[in-house]
Amino acid sequence: MDDVLKKALDFSNYRKTFAIQHKILKEKADSRLTYGFNGGIFKIDRTLITFVQMLEDKGRISGVVLLDVNDTPIMIADLLSFKEDIFDRYFNTTYEYYEEYEKMKKNRNVESLIK
């Protein structure tokens, strides 16, 4: 029984450590997806990316006003350059998040999780 209990406690400790490391990874991704532009703050997410792509598809590529995270209207003079920046940052960040998360999933004990 002692052995069973020890294994359960070890696993509980592992799960807690895993949850904290996952939260830290998510915080890092969130922090990198915060994008300051022309006095506004944007959160680069699927909604922003899709909306910007739609604007480009409709030919609205200059003098576009976007609402930032605080609903402040921000002038985007060159939408294509803005799009390039947010696409780059989104794909780099999510890819890095994916890589680190996959690495973390393979680690089955506390020691390797924090290495």
Binding site: I20, Q21, I24, S31, I41, V110
Partner: protein
């Protein structure tokens, strides 16, 4: 327009705030690429390697020593000690900062990313972090980490404050000073405990008043924090490894952090890792 970071450093006999400010300054310079100034007193300055101070800091600004009797219990893991809490000079930052746009940080706030660079050009002239973000999740976050009291207003975290020097922000810091000077009265009004003076509370109430008594959710990012019962265990090539006590006072778990700004309330554990941090 000049941008820069300002840090207060006043040794209290127990904690070497001067050394903490050096660590915080070196990290801020590296990751934000802006000058950093320190506000300190002659006695604290006499305790440091003055050449290093002059090399690291853009400007060394002197104030008279703090005269507050404020104290707090500060933990270093499981051990705790009642120490002086010399935090009353913060409102003077408006007068003393050499910069047009200032990021004021606590000296236990370790800047390991360029996230705050996004806010230099932000059109809001005063930004404070509006949320405490505990590294372990929400389990350790209490109501009084989010509100100044049971019935009070939203609690801002004065760990990170960014402001543009103008007449309106002058009004804000004057109001913070007024609240500090009449802390018991404001405690009665906003129903918070006045046992210990907290800048977080003065800043929150001043912001609440100047926002027109309504909530204005334009903030700096949440402050990712470890409490003083946690310990910064080691630092290796930019990776900070912590021992965390998720349920406070219970078993420790490990966590490692890279490329994220983090508020490390266990100041002694920062000092133990000073060399590796910078």
């Amino acid at each position: 327009m000049s941008n820069g970071v300002v840090i207060f450093a006043h040794n209290n006999g127990d904690i070497d705030y001067a050394s903490l400010s050096l660590i915080a300054a070196k990290l801020a310079k590296t990751h934000l690429n802006v000058p950093v100034s320190v506000i300190t007193d002659k006695e604290t300055f006499s305790s440091v390697d003055q050449k290093e101070f002059q090399n690291v800091f853009d400007k060394i600004i002197f104030t008279p020593p703090s005269t507050t009797n404020n104290t707090r219990n500060l933990y270093d893991g499981v051990e705790s000690k009642k120490v002086k809490f010399l935090n009353d000079l913060r409102p003077s930052v408006w007068d003393l900062t050499p910069y047009d746009r200032t990021l004021l940080i606590d000296c236990d706030y370790l800047i390991m990313s360029n996230t705050l660079s996004n806010y230099w050009d932000n059109e809001n002239e005063l930004l404070i972090s509006g949320k405490y973000n505990d590294i372990t999740g929400d389990e350790r976050v209490g109501y009084h980490d989010r509100y100044v009291s049971d019935t009070g207003v939203k609690l801002y975290w004065a760990t990170t404050v960014m402001f543009t020097k103008n007449e309106r922000t002058k009004l804000f810091f004057d109001l913070v000073e007024h609240i500090r000077n009449n802390y018991n009265d404001y405690g009665d009004l906003f129903r918070f405990s006045t046992k210990q003076y907290r800048n977080d509370i003065s800043f929150s109430i001043a912001k609440h008043i100047l926002d027109g008594y309504i909530s204005a959710d334009v903030d700096l990012p949440p402050v990712l924090s470890t409490i003083d019962k946690d310990m910064l265990h080691s630092v290796d090539n930019g990776k900070l490894t912590f021992l965390l006590t998720p349920q406070s006072n219970q078993n420790y778990v490990f966590a490692s952090v890279t490329d994220l700004d983090v508020h490390v309330m266990n100041k002694k554990s920062i000092l133990r890792n000073a060399k590796e941090l910078v």
